[in-house]
Subunit: 354 residues, 4 copies
């Protein structure tokens, strides 16, 4: 119910951060697609903790094991089951919060919803779950690539530091922030290091672009392309907002400046529409931006309460991310890929030719 996404290309995930393993099932995969398994692991490594000094130092290896649906390197068309065993589960790191509701975490709401709580690191609410999305997204990316569809994301803001330079795609994975270029990366990294030393955290935002998507993706009413992309992005941990094209800036614009004039070939001179008109892709680059709040775990003493409603003090321990966006980039790309592939298959379904 809660743990599936997609209508045809469909991902169901399971697993808590401190259980035996997390994992998932990917259904609706076209058959006979040659998969590059190393490229899938590479995407996981981009999300992995411990990859640089500005992310959490937990040492999860995040090795995916495929259990089904792939035979002799190709998709069989049947469900791809996979697991990522949990290792380095320092459950005792969490003993101090066993009965404590950490502010702005999901501790309180989970406890109230389910009447129980896996206090070992967030349980199901842990962002560790997103590793499963990256696996499915990496597979979706490879299938989309056979159609020339290309997805990438980068950090465009950290705290008050917005990007100023241009997007240099080859530089995104050359910097630990995953900023759009090395110069902006440097400025953003300085802020993250500063925040980290204070035991504090800071918000940020990620831009995502989908190139070469065909027109016709998206459905007219409830399943508008940007609505489903929005849901996919908002379902990522710590996301607080989603906009596409002109986004919130459109509030202050007039129609006469906001309308995208057509070129003779159907492309548009501007792209305030963000590649989507009436909920359907128009062939222009699909552009969106996702806001992430500052991570709730801080190494500072905070007032809180425990499950008995008593006032307590709580302070995070060392292994957390001072800023979530560097590791969010591959997750954003994954959710975009999963969503676009699902819409491609949906569009495909009704193109009924003899």
């Amino acid at each position: 119910m809660s743990s599936s996404i997609g209508t045809i290309f469909k991902l169901s995930t399971f697993g808590e951060s401190h259980g035996v393993a997390i994992g998932g099932v990917i259904d609706g995969v076209p058959s006979n697609v040659q998969l590059d398994l190393e490229a899938i692991q590479h995407e996981l490594d981009r999300r992995r903790p411990g990859q640089s000094s500005i992310v959490t130092q937990r040492k999860e290896s995040d090795q995916v094991q495929f259990l089904s649906g792939i035979f002799e390197g190709k998709t069989t068309g049947t469900p791809i089951g996979f697991i990522i065993p949990n290792k380095d589960q320092k459950s005792k790191d969490y003993d101090h919060i066993k009965d404590v509701y950490r502010p702005s975490h999901a501790d309180f709401t989970y406890d109230k919803k389910y009447g129980n709580r896996d206090y070992r690191g967030g349980g199901r609410s842990s962002a560790r779950e997103t590793a499963c999305r990256v696996v499915a997204g990496a597979i979706a990316k490879q299938i989309l690539a056979t159609h020339g569809i290309d997805i990438f994301a980068y950090v465009d803001q950290v705290g008050a530091i917005s990007m100023q330079g241009e997007v240099r795609r080859e530089e995104i994975d050359q910097n630990v922030v995953r900023a759009a270029n090395l110069d902006d990366a440097k400025r953003m990294e300085e802020l993250i290091q500063l925040v980290r030393k204070k035991g504090d955290t800071v918000g940020g935002s990620v831009s995502c672009k989908i190139l070469n998507a065909p027109f016709g993706l998206g459905e007219p009413v409830f399943d508008k392309l940007h609505a489903v992309l929005g849901k996919a992005m908002l379902s990522i941990n710590a996301v607080k907002g989603f906009e596409y094209g002109s986004g919130f800036a459109s509030i202050e614009m007039n129609g006469s400046e906001h309308n995208d004039a057509f070129n003779a070939d159907g492309s548009t001179k501007s792209n305030f529409s963000g590649g989507i008109q009436g909920g359907i892709s128009n062939g222009m680059p699909i552009e969106m931006r996702i806001a992430f709040k500052p991570v709730a775990t801080i190494v500072q003493e905070q007032d809180s309460i425990n499950s008995e409603g008593e006032k307590v003090k709580v302070m995070g321990k060392g292994r957390h991310d001072p800023c979530v966006v560097p590791r969010a980039v591959p997750i954003v790309e994954a959710m975009a890929a999963i969503t676009i592939l699902d819409f491609l298959l949906r569009a495909n379904a009704v193109k009924l030719t003899k």
Copy 2:
């Protein structure tokens, strides 16, 4: 596929702006709920064209006719079918754009997706479809009211004019803008009139609040409460962005200021979380904000192309909204009500007591 929303409380809609009627089916309605049918019509009247000088002057009466699922004033538990006949369909108003793709409308994308186009006023992409959402939302509101859950929305910005006063709930429907209070309404209305006289349009935004929602609504992973609310809002015509709680402002915040400290009763001192933590309601007011672009139809000559790819000039005719937000308020409330009721039923499902 494209025209349904919800998992248990489920709305499916149909209809084009210039066909015989629009309508829908509402499934998953709890039985034996006494409905106030006038209150449903009242919500439609809040969305209706022609209600004031700052909205489109089309004269749609929007009278809902219920066909099933209600017997002797009560819900029966079976699907509620309803139609809203189309009247005042001045199809000839659209003759001038029969082969023309209006900039930033859905004309081009629909034509490309479906290989056909109902040129009479936007067809399925017309915002007229949202009347069906208002019907379902009004029913959901009444069911939620029996649980004390209260939903309301108001315009918080039009163009560069942001609200400055406080929310005075009784004043929202006393002003044509549906601003939060009469003073802000006056300033916003002036801007809309100015824009209207120029034949132009302007964007705006709507805030929505859900009071007295119980904790535990929302699902942990993909169907986080804010993700599904976000999808619901993003599916409304002209929406470009969605944020909840601190939203995009959280980007520039530190964790130490953003975390919501607990009171002893589990409520929080601040509400940057917007009533949702880890995707699940925490009992605080659920707060969100939705950005609407300026309406694409302007009474100004614009460059465009026709379906042959030839350059043409296009100019909108009189009956359009200079700013969409006053009429969007009841739609936003409807989508919130539909979503919250569905989550209430989902939460209910697994509370299995003997």
Copy 3:
């Protein structure tokens, strides 16, 4: 929740037998298909009461009105909304059973489930709802016909009278029983008339064949082709059993006689598999058989209880079917067509070509 069927080609229905109208929404329709609206009405006429002396004499005209999704005779790809107004609703015919639970009707279970009851003719449990299926099925049939797929059904047994002759397709609609040929029809009709005169009813069964379905329809595990066909058929009022291919007779067979030997072209010498192996169509005719119980309404006095749990006598009034199978034939065909088209679209979805 309860009132939708299909995953891509999707029908949602609404309506009670004695409300304003019944109707439905068909979503997931391929665009630009030329529809023969008269052929749709013709299918409804095959299901209609009053068409012969061996079916109920209620005079429902069953005129379908399309409200959306069809423009200039072609499907637009958006949802097809339709209604069938209820007429000749002799609600007073039901006054005598207002508080009475008729034996083997749904009166008792609906009352217990919903805590209310539309006593006027069965409400939502009335077989009148199946008219909506016939509309959707007729559209599906026309789309399938463009792929050469051909569906037909006939009555193969009434009471103890089994068919003895062969299937002469042109004779099926030439006889009021819709038996496979005129000779068998005569024998079956005699039995139905005999039963009718006694105020009694009798069961029967319908065979359905799907010709020229391509191989590859059906999904391997839960959505096996015959499982989804079975659900579709079992959802028709009065159905008590479903079998395909060798069906229940396979219980007494050995594998050495039951296995379908291959011809060189992949077709099989026998067809005990009923055109389906491992849940997937194999290119042979798909064959199934559906058992219908005797109609519960009889013109004989029966012991029963009322909603107070008191013993009462109940006797049906005149306008009922002595045997349901003649009118069930078009419904069976409709459900087959809806199911097969949905699987065709599902198979289509994942055939991803550049």
Copy 4:
């Protein structure tokens, strides 16, 4: 798409018979239910190969490993992920059929549908997948037991040998056939041994009863209780037919004998309805019967073709079931439990109390 069942209590499975593991995800599980893990394994052992001389002698241990969703012995309310590693995979047993389509197996249809084939033992079409259903069913059974709902099944026919004695529940698991009593078991076992010695196979049927189900389960139109039960049962490998209550025998009955007369308490004197009226449970025992064909693998030489369309001879090797029904009993029970629990949760969802 193909590999999920249920709307609230939802099972998604994955895995091929000769891959690394099979497994699944169970979503929509009520939280805080104490689980008896040994009882789950016990159900798997009832389905396991090698448990007696009349079933296949493959030595699969079928040990389930739970990966998530259970904490300190209780359900957490989050998805239960589990795997059953594949062992004793004698893939070389299948070398002789690598390019051969075995008659009445899924080899041909899978190859045609997916354009590839995991020839090692049936791949996804292997009945080994049903072990995952047994896991989910065992959990569902335990949850249902807390409501007093009780499900059991037994073999009622093997070949031409029908049961003659009564159901003695304690004897069902005391005999290797899982017949209703020891006397019938003896007669049936003799037939199975006879067939096995000839290298042949034989069909059979299973009866299933659900006791103490509350009234109100099932939905009125497409998701009638028996329709969804029917789909669940028809999705089990080798099933050819489904009937409930009077089933196919109702064809030859009159309404006057078939109608179930009410007792004063709402129960009925007879139960031709099989506990379901109008698609909704009426509080009487829910009764159904499922027909299984003879297993297709026989140790006899058969004519067949290979993937090149050339005529070949094929003969099954030793490790197969001469009759599938003894091992089908726990699978039937599992599908019944999964379905009933899902409907219980669905009914629960709309019972909205303050």
